[in-house]
């Protein structure tokens, strides 16, 4: 649900990075933060445990300039990946306009990817979304590591909707902005179709 203010001519949209624990969601936001000029970004907030794991969410607000005379603001959130934080994940999905599903490419994490994707579908439906229609982009992260699944395998396992997909190394930024641009584009196209 985007917030459009016709008076101050602003659009606000919410993007959520979803995926299993330690797949690199927070790292995506950290990279985006570092590589965005200070005028275009707000403060990055991370609500973490003492061991730096995401406890509730990370938040990064971006202002990307204008379309059709409207200032665009995108609010990026990550969810905590660990299975037992499900209640928090549901809260963060509320009002989401687009989802980036970040998968961990390591072979040992395939079960975790599938479990997280299924959890995403359940939680979206619970919030009243059509999980087959909400703007979605796939990111296959950690491509730099040994013992990773091939893109074809990841595609077959996760990308049943055949949405845009990107290989990434979030630590060095490979694929990070490509992923972000793709989800923003899908959200704007969705907005164009008229708020549903």
């Amino acid at each position: 649900m985007s917030f459009i203010n016709y008076s101050s001519r602003e659009i606000n949209c919410k993007i959520v990075y979803y995926g299993p624990g330690l797949c690199g969601k927070t790292t995506n936001l950290q990279y985006i933060y570092r590589r965005t000029n200070p005028e275009s970004r707000g403060k990055m907030i991370s609500l973490t445990t003492d061991t730096e794991r995401t406890l509730f969410f990370d938040f990064l607000p971006l202002s990307l300039g204008e379309v059709r005379g409207f200032k665009t603001r995108f609010h990026l959130y990550t969810v905590p990946g660990q299975v037992f934080y499900d209640a928090s994940r549901r809260l963060i999905l509320r009002g989401v306009d687009g989802v980036v599903f970040s998968a961990d490419s390591q072979l040992t994490r395939m079960d975790a990817n599938v479990e997280s994707l299924e959890n995403l579908q359940v939680n979206l439906r619970e919030q009243g979304y059509d999980s087959d229609r909400i703007p979605l982009v796939m990111q296959y992260n950690k491509r730099d590591l040994p013992h990773v699944a091939s893109v074809a395998e990841l595609h077959a396992l996760l990308n049943y909707r055949n949405v845009p997909e990107f290989e990434a190394v979030a630590t060095t930024g490979v694929g990070v902005f490509e992923t972000l641009k793709a989800i923003i584009k899908l959200i704007l196209i969705d907005l164009k179709k008229g708020g549903r």
């Binding site: 649900m1 300039g65 509320r94 229609r133 708020g195």
Partner: protein
């Protein structure tokens, strides 16, 4: 998808701002603001330059969402008022009409009793404005984005 977009027009936006300004003055607050439940700042009044309102908006919405989650675990509908007391500044947070969040930040020049009293009156006003917003939904202007072109989107993302 779940709901339509939240669309705010000039007339209602000005009404919201006027209502917040009044609350600011008669509660002797430092800053007051309105946030939607997804964490977007809707309107504000007062010393907004002294605060990071974008972050405040997001965390306030997270706070309400989390306490709402707690409420439902103990069989309550929602905790519609939250109060945080600091050494210098205090925050009064309340949910209006089940969907927007009104935040008042105040110091010793005011009191929680006064803020609570003024917030109650403001909430009634805000509810009325929200009804006007709903009544106007689905009309005019909304066409703006239908004309959004591939080129518009590309130029934003360059």
């Amino acid at each position: 998808m779940a709901q339509g977009n939240f669309i705010l027009r000039e007339k209602e936006y000005l009404a919201l701002q006027a209502s917040l300004k009044k609350l600011l003055a008669n509660s002797y607050a430092k800053v007051v603001f309105l946030v939607d439940k997804n964490g977007s700042l809707i309107a504000s009044a007062g010393a907004t330059g002294d605060f990071d309102t974008t972050s405040l908006a997001s965390l306030t919405a997270g706070n309400i969402a989390a306490t709402g989650g707690l409420a439902s675990l103990i069989g309550e509908k929602e905790f519609s008022i939250l109060f945080h007391e600091g050494e210098r500044d205090n925050m009064h947070i309340s949910v209006v009409a089940n969907r927007i969040i009104l935040v008042v930040i105040f110091d010793r020049r005011s009191s929680v009793g006064l803020v609570r009293l003024r917030v109650r009156r403001t909430a009634t006003e805000l509810e009325r404005i929200l009804r006007d917003i709903d009544a106007g939904a689905g009309k005019e202007e909304e066409g703006d984005f239908e004309e959004l072109t591939e080129a518009d989107i590309e130029s934003l993302l360059k």
